[in-house]
């Protein structure tokens, strides 16, 4: 959402078969409308409190000492000089962790503080709390660590057979998918390729920050930017050796997430510092520290062989996927599971043999980022589809349509798609959108932008298309349920007021808006308050996997339905109406009153609520999924979502510079519950996909990050952002609350390969790696 700021300056055309408002009773701002964000105006005015703004009287400032080396043995740590500095309250190292020494989202394999071995550059060694940030900085400088540097293991493929760098081994997960009879079939046409994706960063705007306040009774309150309050709580409690209820976590204003806030960063450190000093402690990472303080997108090397018959029908996909997870497991096991599941793309592929490895190396840890495993394989499978089309001499769009998945088809993990699968509609919308003017526009819009490097004759235009598939929600048997409480009562002015409470992390995506919309639609109440998200209510699951609309949206809807039932029962009891069995239908909540269907009476909500409020809590679970069998087969996913992107790109081959002129997209959204918010997600996701295509990469040299800043890790500006033409494909998904699918991830997945396909079309080059660098185009062009 923060990144959408650049998109806001560009033109967006939206096409949608919107079904209009479905709000009951003419209440404004219900489901299906462009309801305003409750936090929109404060954010624009600079009044919104982000976690970095948190403050407590008498607070200390925490700071982390990090390893400068990607691989080293620690011979000794001397904190005495730091402790003697005036203003330093405490210096903590591994020995000070009272509970579990390690943490992790899926496997607790990451030390709170490294004590004997350092496995990545930036790994925390110690934390200090001091009365001033500058003193905390000096204290960190004063800690003496004696390292014995080791040769870092930085090649993920070599790591498979290398000496383990962690007691849990180097292979975090290996998956083998065998679908159909891959050993027995060969296509009449086979295309082959090896593809690479560089390490992308989520590049959120608000660096990691949090405030921990000890409660004086051994517990702690943590105010934090995160994506999932309850897993933070559980990991902090385990490391602090506290029962979960003594760690209370409240969401603080989040400045973007994109996956980078799923893992623990400073949570354990700041709570530990607060409990040891008995004072509130605040930590805020600098931009540079942020690059070392969160996980990134897995870089990947992918070897592909795609088989087809002469008529273009896909026969088999073979792939070897090597994902570099860096030093610790984070969510690597789930990322590689996704990569394997969607390795063949949104196509009918009867036979597949896919092997995936999530590897441990001394590179920075990698984990969740928007698109989560689908991004990497989409770059590869879409390049393969274009290669196949070229080999067959057919139109790449037709080839895709010919093989497009439909409802009832199976993906390569054997799962039959039971929901909607409008792959064809997505492709047709993207491919059929109006093309931009042939004219290149103003010189500022040429490749090279403000640098004015190109003249008209230096520029060539290319068009490319790509299609993607991804899962919604967590997979492989995980029950990532969500909880919501809805309370209906009379406000101070006597009007009915609803209050909704969840632990769903608002990270900019707009769940706060949606929660209000759902309550308005379900209860016909316009005034809906939001309680702060915290751990005093049950888990909402993570704000990731495009799941909050479905999961927490479903929880809010369920809680509203129960509130309505209680209200009807209350009125029935007062009016002696029998609600047993089919009789339940005789009362309904409409136009602010409980009405009897055939008698001519009604009870206004204000009367029904005058004695007591109604409050209900609801837990929403998705359908049960299964783990994979030994061949990577099983109904592991809840639902699937699809998108297609067509990119029109202007390239200056002589200098290797690129300007993405337009991206048109058709996206499978199920139903747009807030069309404006959906458009925002699509624009922002495309910005991130364009970034990966042409500029965004964490550059590593022997495990060291060379560009940990926004000076050198570049994300798109308004002059890099294309026009966007959006078609929302609205086919309600069975089983989804309101029929809506999550929309956050698909825009990022296939926009990247579409841009690269367009650059290939403009230049004739192979370009098997993203981001595409000027060198890759210009030097190859100069040689040609």
């Amino acid at each position: 959402m923060v990144r959408g700021a650049s998109a806001a300056a560009t033109q967006t055309a939206t096409r949608a078969s919107t079904t209009g408002t479905i709000t009951r009773d003419g209440v404004r701002g219900g489901v299906g409308t462009n309801a305003d964000r409750p936090d929109g105006v404060p954010k624009v005015q600079g009044r919104f409190g982000f976690s970095s703004d948190a403050f407590a009287e008498g607070m200390l400032w925490g700071r982390t000492l990090r390893s400068p080396h990607p691989a080293a043995r620690i011979r000794s740590i001397d904190t005495s000089a730091a402790e003697e500095l005036e203003g330093v309250a405490v210096v903590l190292t591994a020995g000070d962790v009272p509970g579990t020494a390690t943490f992790g989202l899926e496997h607790p394999d990451q030390p709170v503080f490294a004590s004997d071995v350092v496995r990545y550059q930036g790994e925390p060694i110690a934390a200090v709390a001091a009365v001033h940030p500058e003193i905390a900085w000096r204290a960190v400088q004063a800690i003496e660590v004696d390292y014995e540097e080791l040769d870092p293991l930085v090649d993920a493929e070599a790591a498979i057979d290398a000496e383990p760098i962690h007691p849990d081994g180097n292979v975090v997960r290996h998956i083998e998918v065998v679908h159909g009879t891959p050993d027995d079939v060969t296509g009449e046409v086979v295309v082959e390729g090896t593809y690479e994706v560089g390490m992308q960063d989520q590049a959120f705007m608000g660096p990691e920050s949090g405030l921990a306040i000890p409660d004086g009774e051994g517990g702690v309150d943590l105010y934090i930017s995160t994506q999932w309050l309850h897993v933070d709580r559980d990991q902090v409690a385990a490391c602090l050796d506290l029962p979960a209820e003594q760690v209370r976590v409240t969401l603080s204003g989040v400045g973007g997430a994109f996956g980078a806030r799923e893992d623990v960063s400073l949570q354990v450190h700041v709570c530990l510092l607060a409990l040891r000093t008995g004072r509130p402690v605040k930590m805020v990472y600098s931009r540079e520290e942020s690059f070392f303080g969160h996980v990134h997108r897995h870089p990947a090397r992918m070897h592909y062989r795609t088989h087809a018959d002469r008529d273009g029908t896909l026969v088999k996909v073979e792939a070897r996927l090597i994902f570099d997870g860096g030093a610790y497991a984070s969510s690597s096991t789930a990322v590689i599971s996704n990569a394997c599941s969607f390795a063949a793309g949104p196509y009918r592929v009867p036979n597949a043999h896919v092997q995936g490895w999530a590897m441990r190396t001394n590179n920075p840890p990698c984990g969740a980022m928007r698109g989560f495993g689908s991004v990497q394989v989409c770059f590869a499978h879409e390049a393969q589809m274009d290669k196949l089309a070229a080999e067959l001499g057919v139109d790449p769009v037709e080839l895709r349509l010919h093989n497009a998945l439909e409802t009832g088809d199976r993906i390569i993990t054997g799962q039959r798609i039971s929901g909607v699968a409008p792959v064809r509609e997505c492709i047709e919308a993207a491919a059929g959108a109006p093309l931009p003017d042939d004219d290149l526009g103003e010189p500022l819009q040429f490749p090279g932008g403000t640098g004015r490097t190109a003249d008209r004759g230096d520029v060539r235009r290319g068009v490319g298309l790509a299609v993607s598939v991804k899962n919604l929600m967590y997979s492989e048997g995980f029950d990532d349920f969500s909880t919501a409480a809805v309370r209906l009562e009379l406000g101070a002015d006597g009007d009915p007021t609803a209050t909704v409470h969840t632990a769903a992390a608002e990270v900019g995506q707009g769940f706060v808006t949606l929660a209000q919309q759902i309550v308005r639609t379900e209860l016909g109440i316009e005034r809906v308050h939001l309680r702060a998200a915290d751990t005093s209510i049950g888990s909402a699951g993570s704000t990731s996997a495009s799941r909050q609309t479905w999961m927490s949206g479903g929880a809010v809807k369920g809680a509203c339905e129960q509130v309505r039932e209680r209200l009807l029962e209350r009125v029935a009891e007062a009016r002696n109406v029998d609600l047993a069995g089919a009789r339940r239908e005789v009362l309904s909540l409409r136009d602010g009153a409980i009405r009897h269907v055939d008698e001519h009476w009604s009870v206004p909500l204000t009367d029904a609520l005058v004695d007591a409020p109604v409050e209900e809590t609801y837990e929403h679970h998705h359908v049960k999924t299964d783990p994979f069998d030994e061949h990577g087969q099983g109904d592991a996913h809840v639902s699937f979502v699809f998108a297609a992107h067509r990119a029109v790109v202007d390239v200056d081959p002589g200098l290797g510079l690129v300007r993405v002129r337009q991206i048109s997209t058709g996206q499978d959204v199920g139903r747009a519950l807030n069309p404006r918010a959906v458009v925002g997600q699509i624009e922002g996701g495309i910005a991130q996909g364009v970034g990966l295509a042409v500029m965004e990469e964490i550059l590593l040299s022997d495990g060291r990050i060379r560009n940990p800043s926004f000076t050198d890790y570049l994300i798109p500006t308004a002059l890099d952002m294309p026009e966007v033409d959006i078609t929302l494909i609205e086919q309600p998904e069975p089983g989804a609350p309101f029929g809506a699918k999550g929309v956050g991830e698909p825009p990022t997945i296939s926009s990247t390969p579409a841009v690269v396909a367009a650059i290939r079309a403009a230049t004739g080059l192979d370009l098997d790696r993203v981001p595409v660098r000027p060198d890759d185009i210009a030097l190859a062009h100069a040689d040609a």
């Binding site: 900085w137 600098s286 540079e288 490749p447 090279g448 932008g449 403000t450 640098g451 004015r452 490097t453 190109a454 003249d455 230096d458 002589g654 200098l655 290797g656 510079l657 300007r659 042409v694 500029m695 550059l699 060379r706 560009n707 800043s709 000076t711 050198d712 570049l714 798109p716 500006t717 308004a718 002059l719 890099d720 000027p774 060198d775 210009a778 030097l779 100069a782």
Partner: protein, 285 residues
């Protein structure tokens, strides 16, 4: 940490005589970034923004004379017609906020190989005027800048003015960055077709330890251009591009490889001269 805020040049020089090794702060667009990163821990700062004598630019008797505190924004907006390449270079610097703060004196004083103002100042043989405890002196830019982020500025001295002779004829600035705006240059080049002296003048940036002046390429192009008709043979453009590319000594770093930089400087040189010659043809036709 102490901060002195002089209002006049004499106050600034007094401050320097008290603290000859003090850090000089102008727009702060490099300085403050280094402070924020913890790479620079200043003890004594002389903040120059209020110094009257360092403000503004003027043109007297065919000499452009810039106070060290002239900002990119001023150059971009006030000199778009008279010094289009200087205005164009200024437009490529950071965001509007950065251009409001960053100064030409700071660009020269920082002496980054990627300094966007430096290629044109090189092509125009700019002079750097310093003043200080030991008096005033003037140095050619390429004597003032001695290496990457290294200058001949002495302790107790500050840059007060940047001067160059007005030059008639087309001028162009081209800059490659890793994105289409707000980028540090991977390679950049300024070219002036000096119609009075009938001389092609070139400065390149991010192409060596300091701004590069390809003398032989300049001499070749000055001969190759038909100054009366505004014409040049395509082969001569190629030769010129090769010569300019050959007169670079770039490094490989995270912003680009040496191979790409040299190659790209050649392409920029070819295009810049092509544009300048087209301008000449337009002017004569």
């Amino acid at each position: 940490m102490t901060v002195v805020r002089p209002r006049s040049l004499s106050e600034a020089i007094d401050a320097l005589s008290d603290a000859p090794d003090a850090d000089l702060l102008a727009g702060g667009t490099d300085f403050m970034v280094e402070v924020n990163f913890g790479h620079r821990r200043p003890q004594r700062i002389i903040a120059l923004r209020r110094v009257e004598e360092l403000q503004g630019w003027r043109r007297d008797n065919g000499v452009f004379d810039f106070g060290a505190l002239v900002t990119y924004r001023q150059i971009e907006h006030e000199l778009a017609d008279e010094l289009p390449a200087f205005a164009g270079a200024s437009r490529t610097v950071g965001s509007p906020q950065i251009r409001n703060a960053g100064t030409v004196g700071g660009n020269v004083g920082t002496a980054s190989p990627a300094g966007d103002a430096l290629p044109l100042l090189t092509a125009l043989d700019a002079q750097v005027v310093c003043d200080g405890v030991d008096g005033r002196r003037t140095l050619p830019l390429l004597e003032f800048i001695t290496g990457p982020k290294q200058t001949a500025r002495r302790e107790g001295e500050l840059i007060v003015r940047i001067r160059f002779d007005r030059c008639s004829g087309p001028q162009h600035f081209l800059k490659i960055g890793p994105r289409n705006a707000m980028a540090i240059s991977t390679a950049c080049l300024a070219l002036v077709a000096d119609t009075d002296a009938r001389r092609v003048r070139v400065g390149s940036g991010s192409a060596g330890p300091r701004p590069m002046r390809p003398d032989e390429a300049e001499a070749f192009a000055s001969e190759a251009v038909d100054w009366d008709t505004g014409d040049i043979a395509s082969d001569d453009l190629d030769t010129f591009a090769e010569m300019v590319a050959g007169a670079t000594a770039p490094i490989s770093d995270h912003r680009g490889t040496a191979e790409y930089r040299s190659y790209a400087i050649g392409v920029l040189a070819r295009r810049a001269l092509r544009r300048a010659v087209a301008d000449l043809a337009g002017a004569t036709s």
